[in-house]
Symmetry: C2
Subunit: 293 residues, 2 copies
């Protein structure tokens, strides 16, 4: 058992930060937890929920004396955050994060990390469609993957500390190359979210009468899409903008495939349609075998 962090600073305390706070406390992973939120009202709520020993509005104050700092805000805020906290990071501290895009995080934060601070980017593949400090819970990461994407030359002991931290919260941990991470996540998570947001908009644009009936008769398929589409808008805007190339590539591949399906529907090519449906089922079966579904 690795010793707990003396002071864990969570920059942002929404669904993910709030869940880390709860889980770290539940498993004794930090002697002291300091959390920030980006409005005074949210700070008050985090304090009311008792998620941290201390709540700060200003990240630069929160990181002082912390031996581990985790960025838990939408990734679009990281560059400004890193600028604000860099001068205040303790020597030897570990700086980590939970962002869904990793090349952008390394691009935005990496150059600002002071010498003697160890930067270990991480991404827990966990979440719900809810957001904010009330949405978090201590078991969110149990049985879910956390991917670490340390840049070459990262201090191995710091990577091991972060790995141990996530394992202690119940996660499985894997190390991945950042560009590869971004491509894999583009297809398994970012594109599905883009599609879900889009189809909800498409439905919303239909004529008024149809839209009401869309809502009234929403069948299983559409309900699942709206569940995904209820996710945090700030987070997802930033994900899309910060994994642009991989996301656009996966969308282009998907669009080609959807057009091929459309052509098969138009020309009555039953064999092609069956083949594509069969592939979906095959992936589903593989997922079940891997116990992810």
């Amino acid at each position: 058992m690795t010793p707990p962090f003396r002071r864990l600073a969570l920059i942002g305390c929404g669904l993910i930060g709030g869940s880390i706070a709860r889980a770290a406390r539940a498993h004794g992973l930090a002697d002291e937890i300091v959390a920030t939120a980006h409005t005074q009202a949210l700070c008050d709520r985090v304090a009311e929920l008792g998620l941290a020993d201390r709540v700060e509005l200003y990240p630069a104050r929160a990181v002082v004396g912390a031996d581990c700092v985790m960025l838990c805000t939408p990734v679009g805020a990281y560059a400004d955050l890193a600028t604000a906290i860099a001068p205040h990071l303790a020597a030897g501290a570990i700086l980590s994060d939970v962002g869904s895009t990793k090349q952008s995080v390394i691009r935005d934060v990496g150059p600002l990390v002071p010498a003697g601070v160890h930067f270990v980017p991480a991404h827990p593949l966990a979440g719900t469609e809810h957001s904010g400090p009330d949405a978090g819970f201590a078991t969110l990461f149990e049985g879910r993957w956390c991917l670490l994407t340390p840049p070459p030359g990262t201090d191995a002991a710091s990577v091991a500390r972060i790995e141990a931290f996530w394992r202690a919260m119940g996660s499985m941990v894997s190390v991945m190359e950042p560009a590869h991470h971004d491509r894999v996540l583009a297809i398994v998570s970012h594109l599905p979210h883009l599609i879900a947001f889009t189809i909800c908009g498409t439905a919303d644009d239909l004529a008024d009468e149809t839209r009401q009936q869309v809502l009234q008769f929403a069948a299983t398929g559409f309900r699942d899409f709206t569940r995904i589409a209820a996710s945090d808008p700030d987070m997802w805007r930033d994900v899309f903008l910060n994994n642009r190339e991989a996301l656009l590539e996966m969308l282009a591949r998907f669009t080609e495939d959807a057009q091929a399906m459309a052509r098969a529907v138009r020309w009555g090519d039953a064999g092609y349609i069956e083949d594509r449906i069969g592939r979906g089922r095959k992936i589903r079966r593989s997922l079940i075998e891997l116990k992810q579904a």
Copy 2:
């Protein structure tokens, strides 16, 4: 309380037919249930499960003397089925179905319905990603909509019988114009399924290494898509081919919207992305208010 059917013939006894058999028995809606399945092995399984009083391989035999016949096969089989059973339908019988497309059903079955037989097309908006007689359960239709699309001039008493039948199984019932039904279902159900099948295929086409990691790290978004994509291939092939115009229109609208989203991602138009995400959340909220989510 409407009197039960004397003999209910279910043509096809998979997820939907098998659920009707269970629910009709549970609620005393038929004195006798006759079911068909399209292979002897499936017939044996239906008999083993005790879903019907009599199991027949040949639909023409099953419908004899039935005062209600329900087609519960993929819609692509309806034309041949109607041809086979038409000469054997009892005078005064109600012929109904559970197909997901209604214009095609009226096109394929309508002209074959003998005089004196009342044709009441229906579509229960219920299902799971599982299929076959084992997958059915008696409560599948509870709290779900069943849409009736009777052609103009349909016997009102027969429509009322079918409506009462579905209400007795726990469904809410609404009457809808067939073309309107097909458009609404295209956006709430058929397009989401086409998208889910397609994205699973897109993922499957990725290079081998990435694909394994796709499976290993499938996040919430993708798992929901694969759940949808596990649905019955024969049923969905037939749905796509039999709601072609509405499905292609909705796919075209969706593709335009996805391209607009892609452009916003490429050019960093955060406001546009936020607006589209906001629409998804709005639809989600409306669904929750309507108690469908």
